[in-house]
């Protein structure tokens, strides 16, 4: 079981309120991702759940039990740190065994769990090495192994992939998702990378300045961002956010249209412009259109085989069915166009 409930949880460092009163429900078995820009309080929130920081107010419930005052070791949660936090003078085997040694798990049971974890994480050949002799990805796996063997009721990850290179990051992302599918244990995962959030989460929590901007499944956030912040944060490349007369035309202060929801034509369309930089990814082409008379450069996604070059004239037509409208306060206007 791993249900975590935050009730009006608050955190202040001195006079600075990093987390204003915050409410959140994390269901058993869910993969929840906290996402938000750097410094918005994601790590602090995770550390509050872990018990590594004291709350300034509110309650934390784990499986319905008030755990606000429970020391970290007694909460039954395992954490994977951004720096991995492996014990440098212990071998991989000893690192993984450490939490079990502290819990006085019988030796044969320890061996069995280490064996299983090493096999699942491809660490069998490295059990006798020291962390210093491993690559970044292997260290990350050791840190995960050390968490798994505790058989926690929930895993907490703090930006576990941010120290890895791009290729490895994609690989580890899949491994962690696999792990979640296999163990079906609650996972709370912190990242500033919206791609990680979109690809891994059952539920995304978008944070800004300690505040929850929106909670929902990746597709909910993609299809119906509650406000401008979420609209701009979720999706890659970013949604085009247009203000001024172009937005007024649709009865909004700001309109948002994703690059993939804009039609491209060489002859007719709503906005006429010039192709600026284009990025060819093979499967897709992103190009940036200028000189449309709008204040903003428009990002457009097209197929990989489109034949457009720098300086060409194009006509763009937004798909109004996929358009997002926001009012003066930046909130979504729910009514369809």
């Amino acid at each position: 079981m791993g249900r975590i409930t935050l009730e009006n949880v608050t955190k202040r460092f001195g006079d600075v309120e990093v987390i204003p009163p915050l409410n959140l429900d994390i269901d058993d078995g869910e993969f929840v991702v906290f996402v938000g820009p750097s410094g918005c309080g994601k790590s602090t929130l995770l550390r509050l759940i872990a018990g590594l920081e004291d709350t300034s107010g509110g309650r934390i419930l784990i499986d319905g039990q008030d755990a606000t005052e429970t020391p970290p070791a007694k909460r039954g949660l395992a954490m994977v740190f951004q720096s991995y936090a492996l014990y440098p003078h212990m071998s991989v085997r000893k690192n993984i065994a450490f939490p079990m040694r502290m819990a006085s798990v019988p030796q044969d049971e320890q061996d069995r769990r280490i064996e299983a974890a090493a096999k699942a994480l491809n660490l069998t050949d490295y059990l006798d090495r020291k962390p210093g002799q491993l690559s970044g990805g292997q260290r990350q796996r050791v840190a995960i192994g050390r968490a798994i063997v505790r058989e926690p009721s929930a895993f907490l990850f703090d930006e576990p992939l941010s120290n890895l290179d791009a290729a490895l990051r994609v690989g580890m992302r899949l491994e962690i998702s696999e792990l979640h599918n296999r163990l079906k244990t609650t996972m709370v995962y912190v990242t500033h990378d919206q791609v990680e959030a979109m690809t891994m989460a059952d539920k995304i929590v978008v944070l800004r300045a300690g505040h929850i901007e929106q909670v929902g499944s990746p597709m909910e956030l993609y299809r119906a961002p509650k406000n401008l912040f979420v609209a701009g944060f979720i999706g890659s490349p970013k949604m085009n956010l247009l203000s001024g007369p172009a937005a007024a035309e649709y009865g909004a202060e700001t309109i948002g249209i994703r690059p993939e929801h804009i039609g491209v034509s060489a002859t007719t369309g709503t906005w006429q412009g010039r192709v600026g930089v284009s990025e060819h990814l093979g499967s897709d082409t992103f190009f940036y259109v200028e000189g449309t008379g709008l204040a903003e450069t428009i990002t457009v996604r097209a197929g990989g085989d489109i034949d457009l070059h720098h300086g060409d004239t194009v006509f763009l037509t937004p798909d109004t069915a996929q358009m997002h409208r926001f009012d003066a306060a930046g909130d979504r206007i729910a009514a369809p166009i």
Binding site: A50, G51, L52, P71, P72, A73, L77, A78, M79, F81, Q82, S83, A85, L86, Y87, P88, H89, M90, F98, P99, M102, A103, R146, R150
Partner: protein, 289 residues
């Protein structure tokens, strides 16, 4: 410094310094070695003659010699034990943020700035003195008989004084080691269910192993040569109770004016110090890369 050319250039550049150092070391050592085989007494300096191994034989068979070796070991090991254990304890205490941290740290380091003879005199006359020392005052306040430290526990007294002088050094080195300990590791261990004692044994101590090694190596080198504190307080006595090897050599040279005998003692001390150094490097040096 990878290519052959830069290597030979480097060798050329550092040659003057190394040659100077060699002369600096070899000349005194050679002269000591030479004197150690001479009958050479300052009471009668005109008459010198070849002594062969006599000086060595004389020094080693002196009943004070074995006592001095034992005292030297007790002194070194005692001070090491106090400074390493005490240093770890104090470093742990002042690592935590406390009120007036800056002042506390300066106070703790300050004994290191007091010259050994001065420190020994202060301890002798103001702290351990049987009639007007602080310890005597405390004893009288508690209704106990004051202890005459230098008469009753001469070696222990010197261990205490020297440990007091070296504690700041150990504390400082161990504190820097402690401060380089990664906070997330500690938090990970805390989540893994390790209490403060387990964390100390499994994380803090292994992390400090290298610093402890440095403290032991450096202090041993200096502690083998303790001299001023003994001269100022007990003069090696009562009897030979607080005479270490260095002091025994001093006695041969300056009280008996026996240059040959003192030189032989000096050579023996050098050999013993090297044995200890080799042993230490073997035993604890593997902590150093």
């Amino acid at each position: 410094m990878a290519t052959r050319q830069t290597q030979s250039l480097a060798r050329l550049m550092r040659a003057p310094a190394i040659i100077l150092l060699l002369i600096w070391m070899v000349v005194p050592l050679g002269m000591t070695l030479y004197y150690s085989f001479l009958n050479y007494n300052l009471l009668n300096p005109a008459v010198t003659s070849w002594a062969g191994w006599f000086n060595y034989q004389y020094f080693v068979t002196d009943p004070a010699f074995m006592a001095a070796i034992v005292n030297t070991l007790v002194l070194v090991l005692g001070v090491l034990a106090i400074t390493v254990i005490g240093g770890i304890a104090i470093a742990l205490l002042i690592d935590k943020p406390i009120w007036g941290q800056g002042i506390v740290r300066i106070l703790i380091i300050s004994p290191f700035f007091v010259m050994p003879p001065v420190a020994a005199l202060i301890w002798k006359n103001m702290i351990m003195h049987p009639s007007y020392g602080v310890f005597a005052d405390i004893a009288r306040f508690l209704g106990l008989q004051p202890v005459d430290w230098f008469a009753q526990y001469p070696l222990t007294s010197i261990v205490i004084i020297v440990a007091w002088q070296w504690l700041p050094f150990a504390t400082l080195i161990l504190l820097t080691a402690l401060q380089s300990l990664d906070g997330e590791q500690m938090e990970a261990a805390e989540m893994d269910g390790a209490g403060s004692v387990s964390r100390f044994i499994h994380l803090t101590l292994p992390h400090m192993a290298r610093a402890i090694t440095v403290v032991i190596l450096i202090q041993t080198i200096f502690l083998l040569g303790i001299y001023a504190e003994i001269l100022v307080t007990t003069n090696g006595g009562p009897g030979n109770a607080s005479t270490n090897l260095t002091y025994l050599i001093y006695r041969a040279a300056r009280l008996n004016f026996d240059i040959g005998g003192a030189a032989a003692g000096g050579i023996i001390a050098v050999i013993l110090a090297n044995l200890v150094a080799i042993f230490l490097m073997r035993a604890v040096g593997k902590n150093l890369d």
